[in-house]
Symmetry: C2
Subunit: 374 residues, 2 copies
Amino acid sequence: MTLRSAECPKTAGSAPEVWHNALVNGAGTGYGGGGAMPGGQRPTIKTVAARAGVGRTTVSRVINGSTLVSDEARAAVLAAIAELNYVPNSVARGLVTSRTNSIALVIPESESRLGAEPYFAAVIRGVSIGLADTRTQLQLILVRDQGERDRLTASVAERRVDGVLLASVHEHDPLPALLEDMGLPTVLAGRRTPEESLSHAHADNVGGARAAVRHLLERGRTTIATVSGPMDMDVGRGRLQGWQDALRAAGARPEERLVARADFTEEGGRAAARTLLDRVPGLDALFVASDVMAVGALSELRARGRRVPEDVAVVGFDDSFLARHTHPPLTTVRQPVEELGTTIARVLLREIADPRAPRQRIALPTELVVRESS
Amino acid sequence: MTLRSAECPKTAGSAPEVWHNALVNGAGTGYGGGGAMPGGQRPTIKTVAARAGVGRTTVSRVINGSTLVSDEARAAVLAAIAELNYVPNSVARGLVTSRTNSIALVIPESESRLGAEPYFAAVIRGVSIGLADTRTQLQLILVRDQGERDRLTASVAERRVDGVLLASVHEHDPLPALLEDMGLPTVLAGRRTPEESLSHAHADNVGGARAAVRHLLERGRTTIATVSGPMDMDVGRGRLQGWQDALRAAGARPEERLVARADFTEEGGRAAARTLLDRVPGLDALFVASDVMAVGALSELRARGRRVPEDVAVVGFDDSFLARHTHPPLTTVRQPVEELGTTIARVLLREIADPRAPRQRIALPTELVVRESS
DNA sequence: GCAGCGACTGGGAACGTGCCCACCAATGTT
DNA sequence: AACATTGGTGGGCACGTTCCCAGTCGCTGC
């Protein structure tokens, strides 16, 4: 068989084309299973072999695209598959190959509220796209509390998935290490620390934040405060870092009084803005480490009668679809979340295919989107 | 440090011989529960039996909670399980029980991407909650195009799931009938027609729309137009029906010129509002069949200089989190989407447990949430 | 003419579990 | 005393697949 070696392994882990054709065509007509078989039983590889007048092994070879099959045998098998409407049983296959062809995407529900947080929806979409031309299925695991976390690890231990994607990691999250110990391929969206040992992809948070603050400086703002994310997450630390970097590069001092830490929620953003305005009444710009928090900050500014951007310029982070609907529309740093999802899916597939492959660390570029709030 | 993700993550020369590697490494190396097993093999029910000094069947009985086990045997088995860190292999179990303990949730991505997003996120959350105290796993299938649809049906035919949830159905969607033919338990969120034969749960769209329009009438509005959803969906027809009902009940005529049909997208809502304002410049109220479309309508109203609610009162539908962030905050009809998800999950589990159980049709109540746009 | 080889084939043995059935040891019943 | 009954146990088989290996066949080369 021919393997594409130089190309991007976008179909890593999938079987050759023959397989797809046999499957889709075979299943495309009736799916019944009921009509084709007398006893109402689903046809098995044995049934197909009998019908085609060959052995089980030959059928298996045809299905899996082996070249060691004569043309006539292959034709007979394909005909039998089509007639019987045969679809291989993936569970039985999984038992012998010890592969399930499915991966888990773990999302901490406590933070996400999935609805209010467009980030996770985009990750899901991206992962799904990354899996699109593979036979790999996506298992979604929303972790709400410790009980669910136990169930998750149990489920993973049961070998129901070939690998795991973690959508949001905190510095001291025990899960990544646990999965690593279990020897299960694991890829993170984000990282625990900049020295992350597991494969991961993350947005260039430092660079994005730097660009945002530089933009505010270019607009002539002099007192730029920031609402940062949680410090036990690399995202939070990175975006704060970028703010500090940009100020220092401009010869300004990133004073501690200009920083308010929050938790990526709207209410948190509102409270942080309140704190900052009390502490530094003269601030004329706000870099907020997420759009959701920026929404909270904007409402606080409005409540205090500060005009945006005349009195206070505001820049968010994420370019979630919220940003287009705020008043005024929010200047923000776009991070390619969907692409992030696609990337970690691809990396995971590769790692499943070859567990000894070197770990990958991928940074995705961010981009400033200027709207009317700055 | 910064890698472009668009590039191919190439690791020198290692040709991905997928299936070969899977075989050599897959079953063996790290996957065991820590260092319990010397050979690196995961313990099986046989290992546990040997360790506990009992037969395989007894171990199986303990695991599956049979009462026909002596206390001492049970104690010995549990001890062995704990020592060996044994976890039953769900794939092998699935082979013999022909149950996978997982269900699929199918979401048409073509629609979800366009902004009905909060709806699907809430459904996912609800389904996940409905599955919480079960051992059932959730498989998420985002269907983007026809190719993916084929893969979906193939996947279902492979018996990788015990049942299917469909998150959004159009009247002539072939999928529900297909699944029914395959004899796979299927539950819908929404319904194809009011005579839906499959089990389903849906919000009381007619009642909700009626309440919305009644509310506008009570506010003294006289010319109430509507932006409706697509007519090939029961949701769309139902909400339009409610608008008509309420007007008739008040002695008004639901004239065709007061109706503009759209597709549940923001842009669609904007265009529909434009059409209506051109056609009926004197309208003083708008019932929009979804919040997302209402956002579009609001922006069109603002663009035309109509004040909300002074000139035109607006009511949406869904009470998605968007509604709290519009200007002014949107009066809308709340539908319990998360509960909807939980409900269909429960119904499906029941149907899987007893396939001959009668089909269920469940309507969930809606509730008017009055904010400042009306 | 025969060993050697390469292309092709199919039977057997796993993979790890649940379930049927035969069995055994006590206790009860006639 | 012989016989059912009950609680408890384990061996064999089946689930549907893949892979190892032992074949068979036809062809080449000396």
